[in-house]
Amino acid sequence: MKKITMTLAGASGLLLLAAMSTQAQAAPSCGLNNGQAATGEPIKVGAIVGETGPDDFSSAADSAAAYFACVNANGGINGRPIEYIVEDDQWNPEVAVQVGTKLVRDDQVVALVGSGSFVEMSMNAKLYEADGVMSMASACAVSECFESRNIVSTNEGPLPSSVGAAQWAVANLGSQNVVCIGINIPSVGQYSCGWTEKYMTSKGLTGSSILLDLAAVDLNAAVLQAVASGADTVLVNLPAALAAGFLKTVEEQGLKENFKWISSTPLYDADIPGLLGPGWVDVMHVNIELTPIDGTGEDAVNWRAIMDAYAKPEDPRDTFSQSGYLSAKFFVEAMLELDPAAIDRATVTAAIKGIANKTSDLLCGPYYVGDAPTHMPNHANMMVKVVADGFEVVGECTDVDSAYLEPVRAAEQALGIGG
């Protein structure tokens, strides 16, 4: 098990020097922003990431760590530094429970911020609720993450991303029949592809799903199934590596021109245009859960400046990194409202639940938490298409049209958020 325990106050001086030498173009801004290192009693904050395993889900915690390092170098939480403890669940449910219990019961963290995992949220949701600790997650992929009282994620997960992609295709590509290619995990594939089918049906159109195991070998058969579905549009809702294999098979079969192509967020990765090759330029349209990574808004610029100053050069600058930055920023803003001498789990949980109407150019809508049995503050998204050297925006911020969001909208109405 990899354990990263950082007492960030000690390293803040060195990091600040590094920041001064490398940052001429944009000065990072965070917390009290007073340039004074925090020296008080550390406040323990945790995170659980799926770093070792089929995919690396740690980039949100990397950016949250960078933000906390910046905060610690700039006055901390009214003088108290944040001690950020990041644990790796190794994509193993048993390990996820172990590290969750360690953080909540042994380390007595006041909250979790920046978690990113396929398994952790499902395993620890009840623990967080029982122990009254909030998790401001940043990279959620399973339904339980959005259907738990004490977890709120800044990213929106596969359901709004898939439905948003289908919604855009219906409106802009004239799609009538969408087949969703997802992974055969009920709380991921069935959850997101199932609600995409319901969206299509609700519009009097046709939707279907083809679910693949993560280790699927017969990608050719999946392509043939897509053909047999009669769809005019294929929604690729797969992890990037599996999606690349599937799309390669499509090209081999010469079937690319037979469909319109859309994808959920996993294909929004700087490496993807090169990986897919020139055949997918102007063809593949990808839904993005936050705004583009090369945005020019205040938070977009500040996120990159903080990453350049306080993160490792190799840490990804991706959607989850943006999401981790925002989770950390909103958390710190809530903490700064508290009396530093009275910071404990109860006051922090109450402060997090009190977060309302936070806005950012990295998000399409407001961020809030509230005290509800489910949380999905981020449910509006954008569309980009693959171009030769990256991605180009083709669809501006649009709220997702899904009956799944009815309880979310009711909670928002109660909090006075949105229309």
Binding site: N184, L214, V217, N220, A221, L224, A241, A244, K248, D269
Partner: protein, 290 residues
């Protein structure tokens, strides 16, 4: 061509991969008694090395050679320096040792190549023939043709050559073969090298035709073992046929929607059914089998 025909052709291409992997396992098991759980990891290391060579813009023959060469080298290293120490242990101990080797190789791969989507492409990917509406790429034809060639080659090796005779004698009765003067270490080393080269080639094919992911390729050994188990780890030709049958079954299940999401279980379902069929009429007694 009907839908059945399309899925049959598609399944044969997948089955050829299972078959190739299974033949490599059986060759080694016949000569050394090892059920090599590291077969997938060795193939994965070969495929990842090939990807690295391609990323460094090496010519394609070097890329192919690297995959097969690394496979043979890793297998030889284990076979020469670790396996002899376990020669007289029970089969399960030998198998667990190879599992340890697999996990160690996986760790090295995760260290060398951080998790990111990768793709392995070959010149042959762009060549294809159309068979009843489905395109068969050059790489898939190579996997299938390579499998047939390997079956033929290994069968000829085992049946007509002196080395093959020695391999068979080791497989039939190891102590007696050794007493009769079979150079055990030399024959086993050859088997490890041959099996490793096959693992490298299989890993390259899996990496190019399915996904290039070290973890996925490492554990691809599990369905491959199913093909070898159907042949009771002894018959090369039955292993090849079992691999094809598993691939076709897996592909055909896509036509039956209730089972389609579970078709990755096809290798194990086929292996269980085959084993139950093969042991029909046999009973275990206190003295042993009837």
């Amino acid at each position: 061509m009907s839908a059945y025909g399309l899925f049959l052709v598609s399944g044969l291409a997948v089955g050829a991969l299972y078959a190739l992997g299974g033949v490599g396992l059986v060759v080694l098991n016949r000569a050394t008694g090892f059920l090599n759980f590291a077969h997938g990891a060795i193939g994965a290391m070969g495929a990842m090395t090939a990807w690295q060579m391609a990323a460094w813009a090496m010519p394609e023959p070097v890329v192919w050679g690297a995959a097969i060469g690394i496979g043979a080298l890793l297998s030889l290293l284990f076979g020469r320096f670790v396996a002899p120490g376990l020669a007289h242990r029970e089969p399960v101990v030998k198998a667990v040792a190879t599992l340890g080797f697999a996990i160690a190789l996986l760790g090295v791969m995760n260290l060398l190549w951080v998790t990111t989507p990768r793709r392995l492409s070959f010149t042959l990917d762009g060549l294809f023939i159309t068979l009843g509406g489905i395109r068969i790429t050059g790489t898939r034809m190579l996997a299938f043709g390579g499998g047939l060639a390997v079956v033929a080659g290994v069968t000829i090796l085992l049946v007509t050559t002196r080395v093959g005779l020695m391999m068979r004698s080791l497989a039939d009765n190891r102590p007696v073969a050794a007493l009769l003067g079979t150079p055990v270490l030399r024959v086993e080393t050859l088997a490890w090298g041959l099996s490793g080269a096959l693992a490298g080639f299989t890993g390259l094919m899996f990496g190019g035709l399915v996904q290039l992911d070290p973890t996925l390729l490492t554990f691809m050994v599990i369905p491959v073992i199913a093909a070898a188990i159907v042949a009771r780890l002894s018959s090369i030709s039955v292993t090849f046929a079992a691999g094809l049958l598993i691939g076709v079954t897996e592909s055909m299940l896509a036509l039956y929607p209730p089972l389609a999401p579970f078709r990755s279980a096809a290798p194990f379902a086929v292996a269980i059914i085959a084993l139950m069929w093969l042991q029909r009429g046999r009973r275990l007694t206190f003295a042993g089998e009837d």
